[in-house]
């Protein structure tokens, strides 16, 4: 009964979505406030019905109702409750349902908290949002219905892929989806602006918090996914340039560009058309990502689906939405009024440069991700484009961008003074050069790129502090005044400073892990010792333990540095009888920002076990940096200017405080 309720609720949501897509839109054309007002209750009700549908599927999972095909294929009665719940989105159908749930959630949020939006804009935004929802609910109902029944009901399920039985699955996909589905709001705003043919600085002020919110979750989602892969896959990698990762990374790059260009639009009323285009592109890349992941065109761990009808359906949606949006853009954008002028060397100019590099970097990722697919479709030749391609293309572009990062916030709006800024960055550059020379000396004869990248990272970090010091006028006024000034800075200023700081930290982590990390692989018997980077790992022995739906072969290693025992690491091999698969549980030990990583390979009949040991210097900075970025984004989101939301006449700002 419960699955039928879920199915029925989804059909109702579809019907409501059609109403929400048409009535307010028509109302906006006729300027009829009653019809436009329909958008709010329908958006909330649509979210409620999809919520019921999602709850019904969750109930089927929790109650292990194996008469539902989807539950049978992906669940098991012995599975822990957490994985029963996260199993809801650990498969194609359920994850699409989560996708539309989040889409409807954002629609409802705009409906409820968009009180100060002009009525027509709100009506148009919500109808565009609803068109997307209708298309994807239809996709679920037609090709990926999670509520299909199985007769007769099997007694036991086939269990979830063991690799997915991890807390990571409970966290990573929802965060990621909030991120990239959240970009739908910026898209809907852009389309609404094009439909109305009107766009102003207030528009940017409304779009920016939504984009920022999506960006925060996207950043967290990507970062958590990376950490999950790192500890769960057992070979110590944290980013594989896997097409599925790229699918989430491309919208992130464009969303980052969008955040920056929206600042220009809000502050200077320039780059309007460009900002609209970015808003369209960001969500288009989310859709392309959904297509890549959900159509099963890729060779990847994440591609659970392998059904061509789905692929064709999503492809049609892609063409409809991206093609439609770009066509509308081409038709309406020339009618929008061009914005303010600025000199190439200015804050605006720096932000344009940022956009230019982010977009080009995104394009290289796009080419690397889609080229193999295109080549195969055209010639039948199968190739793989891996990390070397991305390191050689994305890497240099991003390093140049990072080099420019400290300059941006220090340049004045409209017309900047580059020599002046360079002078103020002397200290930062000095520190960076010293660190670079230091690393170079230590690594004498080693890779040239490592010290260079470290130098750039230090420059970005020192640059972020320089920005703060400049704003607070440290060393120019008494310290107390400086503190007062720093505390009085707008939160968005702190936000951008922290975001840039985080970027630098992440880069240091990346360089540390990739350039200075060491690895050893060996076959070991109990009693033997293996050493890496000054740490000795003594293999104490092996025991077998029983988990709820798996058995665990746990090995025990005592880690010593010199004569001191540092700790004990217990990597294991987990066997899941329901799928007769094995999964390695790596053991991690933190030493400051550095980690020791221990993972197991095959057990030989002779009683030896293959062991992989890694020493990963500063690896934790990779994720810590993203957390700092997220904190920066959140601070910026709580900025009073954005919370107020409504366009207020610009009040005279204190002259000493550079406009953020």
């Amino acid at each position: 009964m419960i699955p039928e309720i879920g199915h029925y609720a989804l059909v109702l949501a579809l019907a409501l979505g059609i109403v929400q897509g048409c009535v307010p839109f028509y109302g906006a054309q006729r300027n009829d406030p009653v019809l436009m007002g329909m958008a709010v209750p329908t958006a909330v009700a649509q979210f409620a019905f999809i919520g019921i549908s999602f709850a019904a599927l969750t109930a089927a999972y929790v109650g292990s109702d194996f008469s539902v095909v989807n539950v049978f294929e992906n669940s098991h009665s012995l599975k822990p409750l957490l994985y029963k719940i996260s199993g809801v989105w650990g498969n194609h159908e359920g994850s699409m349902l989560l996708w539309v749930l989040i889409l409807a959630l954002f629609g409802a949020l705009v409906a409820l908290f968009g009180g100060n939006l002009p009525l027509t804009l709100k009506a148009n935004v919500l109808s565009v949002q609803s068109w997307i929802a209708v298309a994807f609910i239809l996709f679920i109902l037609v090709t990926s219905n999670p509520f299909l029944r199985l007769v007769p009901a099997p007694g036991e399920g086939r269990d979830l892929n063991p690799l997915l039985q991890d807390p990571g699955l409970a966290i990573h996909p929802p965060l990621l989806y909030v991120g990239y589905v959240g970009l739908s709001i910026s898209f809907s705003f852009a389309i609404a602006a094009l439909i109305e043919g009107r766009i102003d600085a207030a528009w940017a002020r409304w779009v920016r918090p939504w984009t920022l919110l999506a960006w925060i979750f996207l950043t967290l989602g990507i970062s958590m996914g990376s950490y999950w892969a790192y500890y769960t896959l057992g070979w110590g990698g944290w980013w594989f340039w896997d097409p599925v990762e790229n699918a989430s990374f491309m919208p992130w790059l464009i969303a980052t560009a969008l955040l920056h260009s929206a600042v220009v639009m809000e502050k200077r009323n320039a780059l309007k058309i460009w900002t609209i285009l970015l808003a369209i592109l960001a969500f288009s890349l989310s859709l392309i990502g959904t297509f890549l992941v959900r159509s099963g065109v890729l060779t990847s761990v994440h591609a659970f689906a392998t059904d061509p009808t789905r692929g064709v359906f999503i492809l049609a949606l892609l063409v409809l939405f991206i093609g439609g949006a770009l066509a509308l853009f081409a038709w309406r954008a020339p009618m929008l009024k061009q914005g303010g002028l600025f000199a190439p060397v200015s804050r605006e100019g720096a932000l344009v440069l940022n956009n230019l590099f982010l977009i080009t970097a995104c394009m290289t990722v796009f080419v690397g991700t889609l080229y193999p697919l295109a080549l195969e479709a055209l010639t039948g030749e199968k190739i793989s484009v891996g990390a070397p391609f991305f390191n050689a293309t994305f890497g240099p572009l991003f390093l140049i961008l990072l080099l420019a990062v400290p300059f941006g916030p220090l340049l004045a709006w409209k017309r900047g003074d580059l020599p002046g800024v360079a002078q103020r960055l002397m200290a930062a550059a000095g520190i960076a050069l010293v660190v670079m020379a230091g690393t170079f000396a230590i690594l004498w004869g080693g890779p040239v790129l490592a010290p260079l990248a470290i130098g750039i990272a230090v420059f970005v970090i020192a640059g972020a502090f320089t920005d703060l010091a400049e704003r607070a006028a440290i060393a120019r006024v008494p310290l107390k005044t400086s503190f007062r000034r720093a505390a009085g800075l707008p939160r968005s200023a702190w936000g951008s400073m922290l975001a840039h700081l985080g970027l630098g930290l992440t880069l240091i982590g990346i360089v540390g892990e990739t350039q200075f990390g060491t690895e050893r692989i060996a076959e070991m018997k109990p009693g033997q010792t293996i050493s890496i980077s000054g740490y000795d790992f003594h293999f104490d022995g092996m025991t077998t333990q029983q988990g709820p739906n798996y058995s665990d072969q746990v090995t025990r290693f005592t880690v010593r540095r010199g004569n001191d025992v540092v700790g004990v690491m217990e990597p294991s091999k987990r066997t899941f009888p329901s799928r007769s698969t094995t999964r390695t549980e790596a053991a991690l030990m933190g030493r400051g920002f550095t980690q020791l990583y221990l993972s197991l390979g095959d057990l030989s009949p002779a009683g030896t076990i293959a062991v992989r040991v890694y020493h990963k210097p500063l690896v934790l900075l990779i994720w810590l940096g993203t957390i700092v970025m997220v904190i920066g984004g959140t601070l910026s989101l709580t900025d009073r200017r954005l919370r107020v939301g409504a366009p207020k006449p610009a009040r005279g700002k204190p002259a000493m405080q550079p406009a953020e």
Partner: protein
């Protein structure tokens, strides 16, 4: 600066970045892509020794032989041709006889494929698509992955 000059600066720098990116992409595509081959492709195309390729197929039943120091030898087959593979290192959890595998490396002079990377990014329901396609083409597709859709087909719409 006039509006026109400003626009020129903007377009100029955009083009410069674009040219840089295209240059990087083209060099990288020349150097760092790897072609995927089945054992039959390797035989028919006469892949030169030393050329870096991906070799994919099924691990031949009974072919896995482990030596000292994590040395392992096995054979990759697509039913028509079989290529011996030598690898040193830890095999992925999902590596098994009779299952799909993708290895990366190069052929040596004796015709053995020296792999430096063995990928098994799949579970028993999911075979690398490249492998599945080739096996289907050559009629060696055992409809194991199809089992899943088979049961799903029995479902009725509520």
């Amino acid at each position: 600066m006039t509006r026109k000059q400003r626009r020129l600066v903007l377009i100029g720098s955009a083009l410069a970045v674009l040219v840089l990116a295209v240059g990087l992409v083209l060099t990288a595509l020349k150097d760092s892509i790897v072609f995927f081959n089945s054992p039959t492709d390797v035989v028919e195309k006469q892949v030169a020794p030393g050329a870096r390729i991906r070799l994919g197929g099924l691990v031949q039943e009974g072919s896995v032989a482990r030596g000292d120091n994590l040395q392992v030898r096995f054979a990759v087959t697509d039913g028509r041709n079989t290529i011996p593979v030598a690898y040193q290192g830890v095999l992925p959890d999902l590596f098994r006889e009779g299952q799909g595998v993708v290895t990366e490396g190069a052929l040596d002079q004796t015709g053995t494929f020296k792999a430096d990377n063995v990928l098994a990014k799949h579970d028993e329901n999911y075979m690398p698509r490249e492998v599945a396609d080739r096996l289907k083409q050559q009629g060696h597709w055992k409809d194991d992955a199809g089992k899943k859709t088979g049961t799903a087909g029995k479902g009725i719409t509520p």
